[in-house]
Amino acid sequence: MTTLSTLPPSGQTRSSQAQPRPRKPHVQKRDWTGWKFVGPFMIVFALVLIAPVLYSIYLSFFKDQLVGGNSFVGFENYGQALTDPKFWESMGRVTLFFVVQVPIMLGIALFAALAIDSARLHLSSFFRIAIFLPYAVPAVVATLMWGFMYGTKFGLVGNLNEFFSIAIPNPLGNTWVLAAIGNIVTWEFIGYNMILFYAALRVIPTDLYEAASLDGAGAFRIIRSIKMPALRPAIVIGGIFSVIGSFQLFNEPSILQSLAPNTISTYFSPNMYAYNLSFSGQQYNYSATIAIIVGLITAVIAYIVQNSGSRKEA
């Protein structure tokens, strides 16, 4: 009986054990088959990612002048960028944006993910889909909608001012414009981060919760001791994407600029600065230099976020 009943599984394992053995020499041999699959991706990758990086590094070492034409200038463009007050002002602005907006957005997303996962919510799947929905809305449409709503003349802010005879400060004025942009970005990405966190919560084995509640752990204790550690990788991923997004800020301010031309300058964010240098100023070399510096700073900060996230785990 016992030998018979174990026969089918052992037969299975034998066959699966037998197969890797002839594969081993096959692997050791220089086999280029994999390149046939990876090759197409890598060719396009080289064209649209590697080549532009190399080209912008090349550009950053040259300068196009009226007198003398295109000439090699070494690190002169970098020196100029690092002492450029406009560049630093834009970097300061996105840093402030990152420090304030990202924790708020990730905090709300985390709360929402825990709430939906808690099974204490009525209609939780409706909440999940509805809060995720803004992610599908293009940044252009999101900015236009909020931009109109911010309007003091015929927007919602104008309606409220009129109705209550009050004067809400103009969201697109100097003081509030960064917060107004932060609100748009938060609106767009709460749902995305919520789903990221929720997906991580769903893979926690349910036995863990049962064991914990048998030991007398309450809901908050379960969140602190089981859910938060399990969420850490997802929070790090969300954090890295948010760092990149903050330092790359472009769409929202660039579209709001037509609604608030006096508050949003051409160097509002580093990306807008690089864009305007290229397309209004024809300063391609300097623009490429700015793009490289922003890319490097972003990569370094993303790396720090990743490291601090994994260090806490250890």
């Binding site: 009986m1 009943s5 699966s16 594969r23 280029w32 088959t33 994999g34 390149w35 046939k36 699959f37 990876v38 197409p40 991706f41 890598m42 396009v44 990758f45 990612l49 590697i50 080549a51 532009p52 990086v53 080209y55 550009l59 929402a112 709430a115 996962d117 808690s118 204490r120 919510l121 009525h122 509805a130 809060i131 929905l133 803004p134 599908a136 809305v137 293009p138 252009v140 449409v141 236009l144 909608m145 109109f148 709503m149 919602l156 309606n159 709460i190 749902g191 789903i195 893979v203 349910t206 509640s213 997802a234 890295i240 037509s258 690089a274 391609y284 793009a291 490289i292 922003v294 890319g295």
Partner: protein, 315 residues
Amino acid sequence: MSTTDQTQTTAEKAKAPRMSRYTSEKKAGKSNQGLHTKKSIILTIVMGALLIYSLLPLFWLFVNSTKTQAELLNSFGLWFSGDFALWDNIVATLTYNDGVFVRWFGNTVLYVVVGAGGATFLAALGGYGLAKFNFPGKKAVFAVVLGAVAIPGTALAVPTFLMFSQMGLTNTPWAVILPSLISPFGLYLIWTYAMDAVPTEVLEAARMDGSGEFRTFFTISLKLLAPGLVTVLLFTLVATWNNYFLPLIMLSEPTWYPLTVGLKQWNMQAQTVGGDVIYNLVITGSLLTIVPIVVAFLFLQRYWQSGLAAGSVKA
């Protein structure tokens, strides 16, 4: 030891895992916290506030796309007012400027089908290749692609534009499609997904039967990869439908604009002194822009979530 005995035991054995799977499914369905499933009204109210925040702008958009230009400027933003002008607005949007909106819609569909479809296909081939083959230079491919995930896409936009203009690609659909074809995140997702979803034994069996690697890929592996592919397709679909920065810098001819850049241009025109004031068209156009992507999104979001989970287990 009769044969019936044997079949009985195998049947029992087959039933046993099914039973346990059933119970674990039930547990998962009841959701995580089996003991306290009491619904909390306070939590529902707090989440309700977040829900209103998420849906309010979309409601505003719909309400205002039903208003005429005059009502738009003179009525309360969050409720209907005056004639129900949605159909008039839609017709006006579609026919304004010789139907340029329809042209932009077609462009967007072209960029999405070729861009997102191509990106998914390249990611599927590449991710599968990385997961299932050992080849010289594999580690280098990993390092370069993972490094590229950290490179902010928009930082590359200006240099890409400069390079493409040297190559004469700007102002053609290729300038928008080519960069959309690369999704490092998609490659990563398929790679992690293919490691488990496509058993090496199956590939070995196909090789024994004399099937070529590509034939195996198209007839067997692609089917096994389907859930991962849908996830990547959705990511790239949203990314290309919503793409703004890249087409903005690559295209100067309105004939090749996607919807996003076109809408922005209409909005600028409305702001310009002496320009045709077409806020109602900007708003209705925005509504028409998000309807297809929202519908696709609602249909397919469940796959998305499971795909993300697959990715995050490995991460």
